[in-house]
Every structure is written in C-alpha cells, then in structure tokens.
Symmetry: C2
Subunit: 236 residues, 2 copies
C-alpha cells in the first residue's frame, strides 16, 4: 500500500500531522507493507525568494489581529505540537518561499532520504533557532540528512533543478481536490484532509487495506502476443 502526503514546510498542521500519521501507522498491523511518499505543496506559491517575514507579524496582518492575538493563535498550534512531543517556538520564527526547500526535498527523495530531511527541516523551522529560508541552513540540513553538499548546492544554484517535480506534485494535488495541507492519499483511492488524530489514520489504513480491489486485467499473456516467464522458470 502506498500513502502520499502533500505538505509544506511552512504549515504547522503538516508538522503535527506527520507525527500523528506516523503514530497511526505504528499501530497498523501491515505497516511494513506501507510505502510513504512526501509531495510538494506551497502555502504561498507567489512569494519571492528572499521575501522573509516574521510569522507573528504575518499572522497579525493576514487576520487583522494584534501582535498578542497572533501570538495566542500560535500558542494554540504549539499546544497541539507539544501534545505530540514536538518542539514549537511561538516567537522568532520566519516565513518565506518554500519552493527551494521542496526542490531539495525532491533531491532527497531521489536519494532515499526524503522523510529524514523533512523531519530535520520541520524541526529547524518550528522548534529551533534556525531559519530554513537561509540557503546555508538548508545545505546544512541536507548534509545531515545524508545528501552530498556539492550536489545540494548545485540544485540550489539551478532554479530549474527539480522545479518540474514540485510543479507536478502541485498539479496532482489540485487534480485530487486538495485545497489545503496536510493531505493524505491512500493507494490513490482514499483521501484524508488535515492533521487528524492518530486513530483516524490507523482506521483509514485498515479500511484501505480491507478494501484493496482486485486488478482489472487490460491484457494478459494468454491473449495477443505478450509473453511471460513464470515462477518455475518456464517462458511462454
């Protein structure tokens, strides 16, 4: 079974939702048969690289609240994060374009360390005193996740590298009807929107497992001129 998770590094519910999903997956009997793929989604696709603003100020302006009210909104999210054992800084966090982070996450995917880099980037963004919108910080995280420093720098220096992969993920999200993240898709059959409680994910995994449908055969080796070799080594 395959689970695809659309998320953005700037999305607090994605950070919390990843931990909740992983807890839900841990309680699923067939967890070793589940493959997890992370996909790109930008909360603010129009934001220019380098346009970095403090989160609390952004929230206050976006929702027309005072600085204190914006901070209280962040406290609510922090409470949810803490309940999952995750760190969360209410003040001093930055917000900016996540496009380059998604490009490097695709490089990490190609090297099998996507989930590792995502965890490091979430932690840096939400729990630590580091800005993931700084290329040097991002390179450091990539190296800690197991990527090659020179290769990471080459991807960051070439705006086209993995750009189409990010765009393709975002097109797919729209086609699947996702207008917010985190968005979880099980075997391209079931959708779950939001950082739900762990039990919701366990139940969804159980239902998707139970409902796995038999394949529809479009062409078989018996028909036409397609040939196979079977498990006894016999080739038709």
């Amino acid at each position: 079974m395959r689970v695809e998770i659309w998320s953005d590094i700037a999305c607090p519910w994605c950070y919390v939702g990843k931990a909740r999903f992983e807890k839900g997956l841990e309680a699923f009997a067939h967890r070793s048969d589940v493959e997890v793929v992370h996909r790109s989604f930008e909360l603010d696709p129009g934001r220019a690289k380098g346009d970095v603003v403090p989160v609390v100020e952004l929230l206050a302006e976006k929702y027309g609240r005072t600085r204190e009210q914006a901070q209280a909104m962040e406290e609510t999210v922090a409470g949810n994060a803490h309940a999952e054992g995750l760190g969360y800084r209410v003040e001093g966090r930055d917000n900016g374009s996540t496009f380059d982070i998604h490009r490097v996450l695709h490089l990490a995917k190609a090297h099998g360390v996507q989930s590792e880099l995502l965890d490091l980037a979430y932690r840096a963004n939400f729990a630590e005193e580091t800005s993931v919108f700084d290329d040097e910080v991002l390179v450091g995280l990539a190296v800690r996740a197991g990527l090659d420093e020179a290769e990471t720098r080459a991807v960051l220096a070439d705006p086209a590298a993995y750009a189409e992969e990010v765009r393709a993920d975002e097109r797919e999200a729209a086609e699947l009807g996702a207008n917010g993240v985190p968005f979880f898709v099980l075997d391209r059959r079931y959708g779950i929107s939001g950082g739900q409680p762990a039990e919701v994910f366990t139940q969804a995994l159980e239902q998707a497992w139970k409902d796995r449908a038999p394949l529809t055969t479009l062409a078989s080796a018996d028909s036409a001129d397609g040939a196979t070799c079977d498990v006894d080594g016999n080739c038709a």
Copy 2:
C-alpha cells in the same frame, strides 16, 4: 500515475517488455506524469547462490529437448529482442540465482538509479559476454549505474540487506495475482501481463488516465479535529 513493473533479470520477456513498455510510454501524452517503479520477482526462487548453469543446457533439460531445439527456442526470443533494437546472445549465457541482483536493485532504487542498473544488468545478461551472477561483474554494473562501490559491496556481503524488500515485492506480486513476469500494474487498478506490443501499453496508459477515479474522503479537515493550511496560507 504510477506504473509498477515486476520482473526478473533472468526473464527474456522482461528485457523485451521493458523496451516495449518504454516505447509505449513515449507515445503517451501524459508521460511526464507517469512514475515507473521496478519490483522484484524471481523465476527460480529456490536456486542457491553460485548454482550457475548455461541457459541452453537448462532449457534442454527443463523441456526435454535437444541442445539444437533449445537453441532454436532462444533464437525465437532473440528475434523479438532484435526487433526492439536489443542485443541478444543465443549461446554462452548463464542462469543462476537473481536474489542478490534484486537486493542491489533495491539499493539502486534507494539512490534513484534503479532503471539505469536494470538496463545495464539486462544488457550484461542478454547482450554481452558477462555473467551478472558474478559479484564482481555486479559491482561493476552498480558503479556504472552511479552507486557507491563500498556501499554495494556491503549490501552483497550482508544477506539481510534489502532481503525483506525483495520478499515484500514478491508477496505483493502473489497478492495481485501475478504468476508470471513481466507484470505491469497501473495505479494499482489495472494489470497487464506479458511483454505486450508498445501500442497495448499506450492504450492501457490512456485508459488508466481516463478512468482515474475521484478519491473517497475518509476524513476531512471540516470534520473532527484535523486542521489544514490552505494555498492562501490560512491555517484553520
């Protein structure tokens, strides 16, 4: 859309089928939205490592034919390979356990070079004067595909490395009803058995694309306590 291809390096129709599928994919309008994953299947899972025999002798014994008749069988496969522009040696090829090759193909998958290594291994096995059942040859192919030599040797030296990944692929093949390879699965909805002509693959891709079903929502952010952030950066 995702296409999974179960195959074995010792399976001539898998070698031919990969080329035909890729030709079929090339003619598919949405090819850039197709992700291809190769999965493990052993034609002879009981064969011990090091038990390597010439293919023509194996065929003669298995089917109770003379050496000349076995060679004629191979000529038929060679004709199909040549028609796809692929080399194929009728004589001098070996057959052996492919388990370790599958383990290294999983290492290659983790590094994003699975299709490259599969192509090199197919070519070595079917078209060149090299035996892929020799660990030194396999290491050489892995390095040419872009893998690290020391990491490849470490995988070969540890029989547990990626063994569960190979077994999991094989269990999935059985669950999906595949008793021969190549076996192609489109979005876990459609199955195609055998190295079909390229047009069959193009048509199947078109049908699978047209029939993509909407997701069934198991939990939405509006319900329960799952929260999301949307594309305007608003977090519920």
